[in-house]
């Protein structure tokens, strides 16, 4: 195991051997986050996967050609050029299948992915048996490896990553329109085909420069995971792009560093695991759409609904008890509450316990319920809002009075003070005179024998 000093050296880019690799993978991550965001929003993730698999034959063929020309065959720019050409051939095949046959898109992608990858694996085996050439290390293009890097390779990867990121920002508005509504974009006269090809070109560029460190199998995860994670944090495009770039950059930096410290681990896998961890954290904790914030929000809403149901039920019981006299706060039998709603005794006990904690109930005899002063006030307020809403629905939305109670129950909890005032204004002619307007339907429980 590496000790702390070694770890810090790598993470802080002090180690010369790994500095270039870690830095280039970080830049790659930023570009992948930006380009991947648009790939995801365009709903073309599968196409990206097919594309990355289609690069393998090009790597093998480029190696063979370079050896035949008398080189070592290991020049990175040459290999990446081969990968690019064969990736483009893969995309072209997909588009050809789509436009000339009536096969579905996923069939075309599956076909290109498997056939090109198969050809790639076969030709890799063939070039490895070529006399006088050592093709060892070409497999790293499949799983990724943080090999040490010469500075010209570093420059190439950084330049492509930088230009791809820049293109995403430059074409922000155009890509946004293409991804959201391509029909509208075309009707407005934007060249949607050109924009689609440009976007796929950027995906190709990021895929190709990611081949060495991430590998062609996992590069799609590097493109898709950061934007998917970013989507949990925000509802807007520009923050999503920035967060995706950040998550991509962090995954690249941490992943490449960890893999440099433990060379037996394939770099691509480590990078993707780091990205996946950030994804899981985002999914659970992110405030905009994360699981826990959403759960907290929902349970708060449920408690509020329960409380209002309880108080309104209590108020309506008191109303029936008072008859035509003004409603007064007095103890009433617990059993009456159970007839008002479809509560189980256990649910009701839980709701009553919460109400006691919130000081809405006063202590009373064991089978009796007595509202506190604040509870009674809250109860008449909740009942009033509910009645206003019910009346509104009946008057303005043509709902049969027998169906109104259910809908009103669901909606009134969401009503803000502003809307309640609007409703009061709508209904002022017959409602404002009373603190709680009379219920527009009968209060006798219909299911009661």
């Amino acid at each position: 195991m590496p000790d702390l000093r070694e770890i810090l050296e790598v993470l802080l880019l002090q180690n010369y051997n790994t500095r270039l690799v870690v830095l280039s993978t970080t830049l790659l991550g930023i570009a992948a986050g930006l380009v991947g965001s648009f790939l995801l929003l365009r709903k073309r993730s599968l196409m990206g996967d097919a594309l990355s698999h289609a690069t393998l034959p090009g790597v093998a063929i480029a190696f063979a050609v370079m050896v035949a020309l008398g080189g070592s065959g290991k020049s990175l720019p040459g290999l990446l050029l081969g990968a690019t050409l064969s990736g483009i051939a893969g995309v072209a095949t997909m588009l050809l299948i789509r436009h000339t046959t009536r096969l579905r898109d996923d069939v075309a992608m599956g076909f290109v992915l498997s056939v090109f990858f198969g050809v790639g694996v076969a030709s890799l085996r063939m070039v490895q048996s070529m006399p006088g050439a050592s093709a060892a290390g070409l497999e790293s293009f499949i799983y990724g490896k943080t090999a040490s890097m010469v500075s010209s390779d570093f420059l190439l990867i950084s330049l492509v990553a930088g230009l791809s990121s820049l293109a995403c920002l430059l074409f922000l508005k155009e890509f946004l329109l293409l991804c959201f509504d391509d029909g509208f974009a075309a009707a407005q006269g934007w060249p949607t085909l050109f924009l689609d090809v440009l976007l796929l070109g950027l995906v190709t560029a990021v895929t190709v420069i990611g081949l060495q460190s991430v590998g062609l199998i996992l590069v799609i995860a590097f493109l898709i995971t950061p934007p998917t994670a970013a989507r949990f944090w925000t509802q807007r495009l520009i923050p999503m792009l920035l967060i995706a770039a950040l998550i991509g950059g962090i995954s690249g930096w941490l992943g490449a560093s960890l893999s440099a410290l433990t060379p037996q681990l394939p770099a691509g896998a480590v990078i993707v695991i780091v990205a996946a961890l950030l994804f899981v954290l985002s999914m659970i904790f992110a405030p905009a759409r994360g699981v826990i914030p959403r759960w907290i929000h929902q349970s708060r809403l449920r408690r509020k609904v329960d409380r209002q149901h309880l108080l309104r039920a209590a108020y309506e019981i008191l109303e029936v008890q008072a008859g035509s006299a003004p409603v007064v706060n007095e103890p009433f039998p617990l059993a009456l509450l159970l007839t008002k709603r479809s509560w189980t005794p256990r649910q009701l006990r839980r709701i009553l316990k919460t109400a006691r904690r919130e000081d809405h109930l006063e202590p009373a005899a064991p089978d009796k319920i007595l509202l506190s002063e604040s509870g009674f006030g809250e109860a008449s307020r909740a009942t009033r809002n509910h009645r206003l809403w019910e009346t509104y629905l009946i008057q303005y939305a043509d709902i049969a009075p027998s169906h109104v109670d259910r809908d009103a129950d669901m909606v009134e909890h969401i009503l803000g003070a502003k809307l309640v005032r609007q409703l009061e204004a709508y209904l002022s002619d017959h409602d404002l005179a009373l603190p709680v307007p009379p219920s527009p339907h009968s209060l006798e429980p219909s299911a009661n024998p």
């Binding site: 508005k173 155009e174 329109l177 509504d181 509208f184 009707a187 407005q188 509802q235 807007r236």
Partner: protein, 276 residues
């Protein structure tokens, strides 16, 4: 070939010559001999249409009659097998700026990370041009457009948190941003609440008072004559077109809807004749 047709135009107007005498150049939408086919199956056949200026035009017909395709054909979004559609006397690509398009609401993913006002601003993208950001002036116009459709207070709301009717209003506001003369709307009344329906009708009337022309794909036969003053009854071909009151006849509807409508009518007659 092109020059030849130009030379002969004065004496022998060819079938596809650009300005046929019966189409004055000012007409918002003129369609001649238009046929569209998907995979060899024709969807629209020999369409001949002249839409007069300033009218609210309803396009009515059964499912699969080619109503959406007709709009898309006018917008160059589908390849034409024959014929042409001219906007104010010119091909669409030359008069694009005079046309606004409201696609069907279901045609986009509403869980997209943008706010209502971002979508409305898309209507100004063509004016803004390549690479440039949407400026303050355009954002103010977007806000005004949202207010015109009655949802200015929802400008900063993410679009998935809008109701169906509100989403439809966002699309209409985007079309208003385009500041066009001809509005092509694909089912703006589909699955919206009563208040939105009223707001859309109001907006359509205001547009037509200002001399704008609106071509609206519509489903609800009950409201056709109250909403529109011109009608196109479509079922692969144009069955009838003209002023709404004259065109909306039992006979024409029978021809448009064929068996489906007659079945309904027979059922209705049977009910009426049963002694009760």
């Amino acid at each position: 070939m092109h020059t030849e047709s130009l030379n002969t135009q004065s004496t022998f107007p060819t079938r596809h010559s650009e300005a046929r005498p019966e189409h004055p150049p000012g007409i918002p939408l003129a369609i001649h001999d238009l046929t569209v086919a998907y995979h060899r199956k024709p969807v629209l056949w020999d369409i001949e249409l002249n839409i007069p200026e300033g009218k609210l035009v309803g396009v009515v017909g059964p499912n699969g009659a080619g109503k959406s395709t007709l709009l898309k054909a006018c917008l160059d979004l589908v390849p034409l097998s024959s014929g042409w559609a001219h906007i104010y006397g010119k091909p669409y690509r030359k008069n694009r700026h005079r046309v606004a398009y409201v696609p069907q609401r279901e045609s986009v993913d509403w869980d997209f990370p943008v706010n209502a006002i971002d979508v409305v601003a898309m209507g100004a993208y063509r004016r803004v041009g390549w690479f440039r950001r949407v400026g303050k002036a355009e954002n103010e116009r977007a806000m005004e457009a949202l207010e015109q459709v009655g949802i200015g207070h929802l400008a900063r709301r993410q679009i998935s948190q809008l109701s169906g009717g509100q989403q439809q209003r966002v699309f209409l506001a985007r079309a208003l941003m385009q500041d066009a003369d001809l509005y092509l709307m694909d089912e703006p009344f589909a699955a919206v609440d009563a208040a939105t329906e009223e707001a859309i009708v109001d907006l359509l009337r205001k547009l037509s008072e200002r001399g704008k022309t609106c071509l609206v794909v519509h489903h609800d036969l009950a409201t056709v004559t109250t909403y529109f003053d011109w009608l196109v009854l479509l079922n692969m071909r144009v069955v009838a077109d003209g002023p709404a009151a004259e065109t909306f006849t039992r006979d024409n509807l029978q021809k448009t809807y064929g068996g489906k409508l007659s079945l309904l009518e027979k059922a209705a007659e049977a009910l009426r004749s049963t002694p009760h």
